[in-house]
C-alpha cells in the first residue's frame, strides 16, 4: 500500500489516437485501416470525396455497432482498459475533491476511494471503486477489487455523510470484492453486509452510478441508493460471467453465454426496473470521449440530486426502503 501518485486520467483523454481494439470492432478496424492507407497513399487530396465517404461510413458503422451491442460486447466495453475511471469523473464533475483515507482500524484501500467535494455549491461525499491507470497503478489498486478495509472506509465516510447531511454519490466499477484469504480473515462479508444495512437508513440523498463493471456484492456494498443509474455500456451482475460459467457451464470459457443468460448489460438491467436511469455514453464508448461522458453524467446527477432534495430525510429513507422492498419476481402457487 505505497502511497504513490497515479496518473490522473486515461490515455485517450491525453489525446492519444483512438484505436479499435475490441474483437467485435473488426469491421471498424478494417475500415479505419483502409482510410489510413488512403491517407498515406495519396498524401495530397486525390479523391477527397471517397475519403469523406469512408469516414462517414466509419462513423455510421460505429454508431450502428454500438447501438446494438450484445451483452458480451457490452462487458468488453465496460471492462475496456482505457475506460474512464472513477477519478476521471470525479475530477471532471466535482470541484475541490479532497480524498480521505483509512478505515481507522487496519488500513487504507486504494481500490475504493472516497472523499469530500463540491457539487453545484453543495458539499457531497463521493465513494468510488478505482481500477487504476496502467499496469502498475492497476496492481496498486488491486484492479478495483476492494478489501474489507475499503468497505469499512466507505462505512466511515457514509456515517460522515449522515452526520453532516452531505449527499452521497457512489461510482461503481469493480469486478467484485477481492476473494483472498486475508479478506475472509478480516470479514469481507461482514464489511459488505454492514454497508447494506447502513446505506438503507442513511438520512441523506444517495445516488449510485455504475460507470463500468458492477460486480456482485462488491458493487452492491456501495450502491444501496435512492437512485441507481447505469452508464449505457456498463454492466451489473449477480456474479462475474466467468464465475457463473464455471459453475453452471462447468467451464469459464462460457462466460459470454453466462453474461447473456444473466442479462447483465445496462439496457437489460434497465428493463427489469431495478435501475432508475441510463446515462448516455459517447458513440463508441465513454473511453473515446471522457469529457462528453462526464458531461452526460453530470447532467444526470444534477437532475436526480435536485429531485431527491425535495424529500425530508424520513420520507427519503422510507421511499428508499420501499424501492428495495418491492424488488423481486415471484408468485403465489395457490
Amino acid at each position: 500500500m505505497v502511497s504513490e501518485q497515479p496518473k490522473q486520467s486515461s490515455q485517450y483523454a491525453k489525446g492519444k489516437a483512438m484505436e479499435y481494439d475490441l474483437e467485435f470492432e473488426q469491421p471498424l478496424r478494417d475500415l479505419a485501416k483502409e482510410i489510413h492507407i488512403m491517407q498515406q497513399e495519396c498524401g495530397k487530396l486525390e479523391n477527397p470525396t471517397r475519403m469523406q465517404e469512408a469516414k462517414e461510413e466509419l462513423h455510421t458503422l460505429q454508431q450502428e455497432i454500438y447501438a446494438n451491442l450484445t451483452t458480451w460486447q457490452t462487458v468488453q466495453v465496460a471492462r475496456h482498459k482505457e475506460r474512464p475511471r472513477a477519478t476521471d469523473y470525479i475530477h471532471r464533475i466535482f470541484e475541490n475533491f479532497l480524498e480521505l483515507h483509512g478505515d481507522r482500524s487496519f488500513g487504507d484501500d486504494p481500490a475504493l476511494i472516497g472523499g469530500m467535494a463540491t457539487f453545484n455549491n453543495e458539499t457531497v461525499i463521493i465513494l468510488g471503486h478505482q481500477k487504476g491507470y496502467g499496469a502498475k497503478d492497476q496492481q496498486y489498486r488491486n484492479f478495483g477489487m476492494p478489501h474489507p478495509e475499503g468497505y469499512r472506509k466507505a462505512y466511515r465516510l457514509m456515517q460522515m455523510a449522515g452526520k453532516f447531511h452531505f449527499p452521497l454519490i457512489c461510482l461503481i466499477d469493480t469486478p467484485g470484492a477481492f476473494p483472498g484469504l486475508g479478506d475472509e480473515e478480516r470479514g469481507q462479508a461482514e464489511a459488505i453486509a454492514s454497508n447494506l444495512a447502513l446505506m438503507a437508513r442513511l438520512p441523506v440523498p444517495i445516488i449510485a452510478v455504475v460507470i463500468g463493471e458492477g460486480g456482485s456484492g462488491g458493487a452492491l456494498g456501495i450502491s444501496v441508493a435512492d437512485r441507481l443509474l447505469m452508464l449505457a455500456h456498463s454492466v451489473y451482475t449477480v456474479a462475474a460471467p466467468e464465475a457463473a460459467a464455471s459453475i453452471l457451464w462447468r467451464d469459464n470459457a462460457f462466460a459470454p453465454q453466462a453474461a447473456e443468460a444473466m442479462r447483465i448489460s445496462a439496457s437489460e438491467v434497465f428493463a427489469t426496473g431495478i435501475v432508475d436511469d441510463l446515462v448516455p455514453e459517447p458513440v463508441g464508448g465513454a473511453h473515446r470521449n471522457p469529457v462528453l461522458a462526464a458531461s452526460h453524467l453530470q447532467i444526470a446527477l444534477e437532475e436526480h440530486l435536485s429531485s431527491l432534495k425535495k424529500y425530508p430525510p424520513e420520507q427519503l429513507v422510507e421511499k428508499r426502503y420501499q424501492k428495495f422492498r418491492n424488488i423481486g419476481c415471484f408468485e403465489n402457487s395457490r
Partner: protein
Amino acid sequence: MESVIEDFKKTVISEGARQLRTSPKNIVVKCPECKEIILGREYRKSLKVCSHCQYHFRLTARERIELLVDPLSFVEIDKDLVSVDPLGFVSQNQVYAEKLAQEQKKTGMKSAVVTGHATIEGIPLALGIMDFQFIGGSMGSVVGEKLTRVIELALHKHIPLLIASASGGARMQEGLYSLMQMAKTSAALAKLSEAGLPYFSLLTNPTAGGVTASFSMLGDVILAEPGGLICFAGPRVIEQFMHERLPEGTASAEFLLEHGMIDLIVQRHALRGKLAQLLLFHQAQSQSMVETTILHTQNTQKKRSQSPSSSAA
C-alpha cells in the same frame, strides 16, 4: 456467488440424509468426515451428529424447526410463494423454469426457506430457516421476499427474530433480482434494529456468498454449528485467486470465531438451550424496562409535585 455449492455436491450425496427419510429404519449412514458407519437409529437419536467425530450432518428446514421450537408451536407463513423465471434463464444443461419444477418435485419444497413464527420455552419469536436441499439454498426473489416478510412480521409483532442460514449464496438464475435481495433483507433488518428488536443469526453448513454478505452477518448475536463452512468467496475460489493451497479449516466456523466474526459455536444438541437463554435475556429486560419506566415516571411526577413547595421554601 453460488460458487461454493460445488464444494458441497459430493457431501450432499454421501450424507445420505435423503435416504434416511425415505428408506426403512435399519439403513446405515457413512460419516464423510471420519468414514465411520452410523446406524440409522443412532443417527436420528444424535440429531444427525456423528457420534464418533461430532460431524454435523445437514438438517432440512423442517428438521431444524422440530429441533429448535416448542412442539406444535410453529405457524408457517407464505408457504406457497414460488419462484418464477424472470430472465427466461437457460444455461447449457438447463432451463431454469424446468429446474424449479424438478426441484420442487424432488424435495417436496416450494422454496429454499421456511418462514413463520413459533415459541421456544414459551417465548415467541419469528423464524426464517433455510434449506440447502433446494437449489443449494440459493437466494433468489422468493428467499428474499419470504425473509423480508418474516422480518417485517417480527417488527409488527414486536418479537425477536431468528434466521438460520444454509446457502451457497445468491441464485444466479434470477440475475440482479437475486443480488438485490441482499439489499432488501439488510434494509428490513436495519429497520428491525432501529426498533430495538434482537436478531439472532445461526450459521449452518454451508453459509456463503451473498447470504453471508448480507443478513447472515448482521445478527446482534451470531451463532454457528461446529465445523460448518462459512465464507464470502469460499476456499475453492480463494485457491484459484491466490494460486496456493489453503490450510485445513480455512473458512470453517472455528476459523470465523478465531477471527472475531461470530459470537459462539454451539453443538447441535445445545442450540435450543442457547436460543432459549438469549430469548430470556431479552424477555427479562423488557419486563425490567417496564418497571424502570414506571419508576422514572413516578420520579418525574414526584419532582413535579415537589417543585412548587421547594420553590416556596
